[in-house]
Symmetry: C2
């Protein structure tokens, strides 16, 4: 029997391979694997149900040294709700699985739950069950989120059309720059445990890393503006990776303009400090949980003055085209080097 | 800050504590934590949606030394479907989370998926998504299952009434006796790796441990017999623990008769070999994934000759009563010593 290391395929290649044999038995199953959520018809013909699941694994997705447990619980819920919003939907319920080693106390678990319930209450979501069990080592959070969407307003990854404007909410790269700061302070602390971590001046980017907010405000804004995105995805793995998903699913190309990519001032400052171009944070950093979406050009007037939305490019006919027009004027082809938990370091 | 070890509360005490602060925001939420599944109203007023989640953690729920990966995948789906059947429902969809360390190859993951899809296809369930990620150590499977139930046929844990007959499907204790055999062969193998494990003569109990089947046949039989259970639960932690759940939720008592508890011949033989009363396997072993349910006495005639159903006792008025009438004639009070992943050994 052959033995292929998982690293050889990477996360997306692995998922493609594993899920290739899936058969559907129910006509209610509108969409299985391959978008931000699964889509299931409901008895109300105007409403689709949405289901998504995301795992957070200690040592892979978070480092317990600098992650407050309450924030971790909040984030575990937030990243799942983000997938529901990315379908232009509204989250309604979550179920929660926790596996913990004996190093975690009851009080630690209570903090995690407190964070999870804080997110649930803020986003009007009911926690309706789950499973709590021990593990041999470390902590793992497994959340499944449910929501609904009006059938006529659903935004798949696959609907982008040539000429559509590519938009993004908020700003990008801040979560990754926050991670860099936290990692640096961890090393300082390990070298000298008497040193207190200094994250003053970095509070915005650190909060973006530790306590992301899902795109409820964006979905509500789009509704108010009467815009239905032609395609949408949340930015969990970095802009380059998400643009690849949208263009691949839509079988179209894309041109992005570096100067249009929204970068926060603190993110730019961290980039300067670490001598890394902050555009790299935006393209490959991930975990911003902003929404990336495409809209018909006819919606331009409605959206152009919205503060939380940036228009960063457009969709093209050629599926092979994934161009970034750099501020220098050079054109570079985007590669998805987004975060992949299976990637070899 | 105080530091209470999780072992001090046990699994059920921990869940009670963690979930005590949950608030529901949606009137569609019929039942949250506290039964085999969550129950959510659907746009069809006659239909409720059911949601359940179960984790399987390496080193806690399974030992990879003697668990074929295909069986493991099958079991991960089966134990979740079991919870849907325990509500008298029909499973329709699953989503699957897998966290794996680098010791697992692509081929290993394909075997797990093959087993999962075998169960999905057998039970007419659509796999519609999930998350696959790396872990620092070991393998963890997190499955969430969905189903539906006719509102008038739902079986909660809480509906048992005095005089109701207590029934169980199949036989009990076989999964645990299979585990004992597998653990013994593991020790033999560790002592002398040239010895091949000998599980001939134990194939039934070993299969019950490694590849349990959820209670689809029982739910279909009840439908055919036009019986709606007054209460139902699946036997994951052992008969004693599940009887406790039903009597506690129903605020009633129970009397069980040891001689009525169905024990398979191979299970009895393993008990003899290991010098353990097989009733102990049934009461405290767990993982049989049979259904335990109560019915009104008026349904007795319908069920009394059904081969796969045993009537093992009845419900009483007194919530403090949990009696087992032993074959010897002695009456012992049942204690839930069912499997608890947090229990100190």
């Amino acid at each position: 029997m052959s033995a292929t290391p998982v690293t050889e395929l990477g996360e997306f290649g692995l998922i493609d391979k594993l899920t290739s044999q899936i058969k559907h038995h129910h006509q209610q199953t509108i969409k299985g694997v391959g978008d931000d959520t699964a889509v299931i018809a409901s008895p109300d013909k105007d409403i689709y149900n949405l289901i998504t699941k995301d795992l957070l694994v200690e040592g892979v997705h978070f480092n317990i040294m600098y992650t407050p447990l309450k924030h971790l619980g909040y984030k575990a819920i937030a990243v799942n709700l983000s997938d529901i919003y990315a379908m232009n939907g509204t989250p309604t319920h979550v179920v929660v699985g926790i596996a913990v080693s004996s190093k975690y106390t009851v009080e630690a678990l209570e903090e995690i739950y407190e964070g999870m319930l804080l997110a649930c209450n803020k986003y009007n979501v009911d926690m309706v069950g789950g499973d709590t069990t021990s593990s041999i080592s470390g902590l793992m959070l497994s959340v499944t989120a449910f929501g609904t969407v009006n059938k006529d307003k659903i935004a798949y990854r696959s609907g982008a059309q040539p000429g559509d404007l590519i938009c993004v909410s908020g700003n990008l790269g801040s979560a990754y720059s926050g991670l860099l700061v936290l990692e640096r302070e961890k090393e300082v602390f390990k070298a000298n445990p008497d040193m207190q971590p200094d994250i003053s001046g970095y509070s915005y980017v650190v909060e973006r890393q530790l306590k992301p907010e899902p795109g409820k405000d964006v979905v509500e804004l789009l509704k108010k503006l009467e815009i239905i995105p032609t395609a949408m995805i949340d930015i969990s793995d970095g802009l380059a990776s998400e643009i690849m998903h949208i263009t691949k699913a839509s079988e179209k190309g894309a041109v992005l303009y570096e100067e249009k990519i929204p970068i926060d001032m603190q993110t730019a400052a961290v980039g300067h400090e670490f001598k890394i171009d902050p555009t790299t944070f935006a393209l490959n950093g991930g975990e911003d949980y902003e929404l990336l979406f495409t809209i018909n050009q006819s919606d331009y007037e409605k959206i152009k003055d919205q503060e939380i939305i940036s228009i960063i490019g457009h969709i093209t006919e050629n599926p092979a085209q994934r161009d970034l027009v750099a501020t220098s004027g050079n054109i570079v082809t985007l590669r998805a080097q987004g975060w992949d938990s299976f990637r070899k370091e």
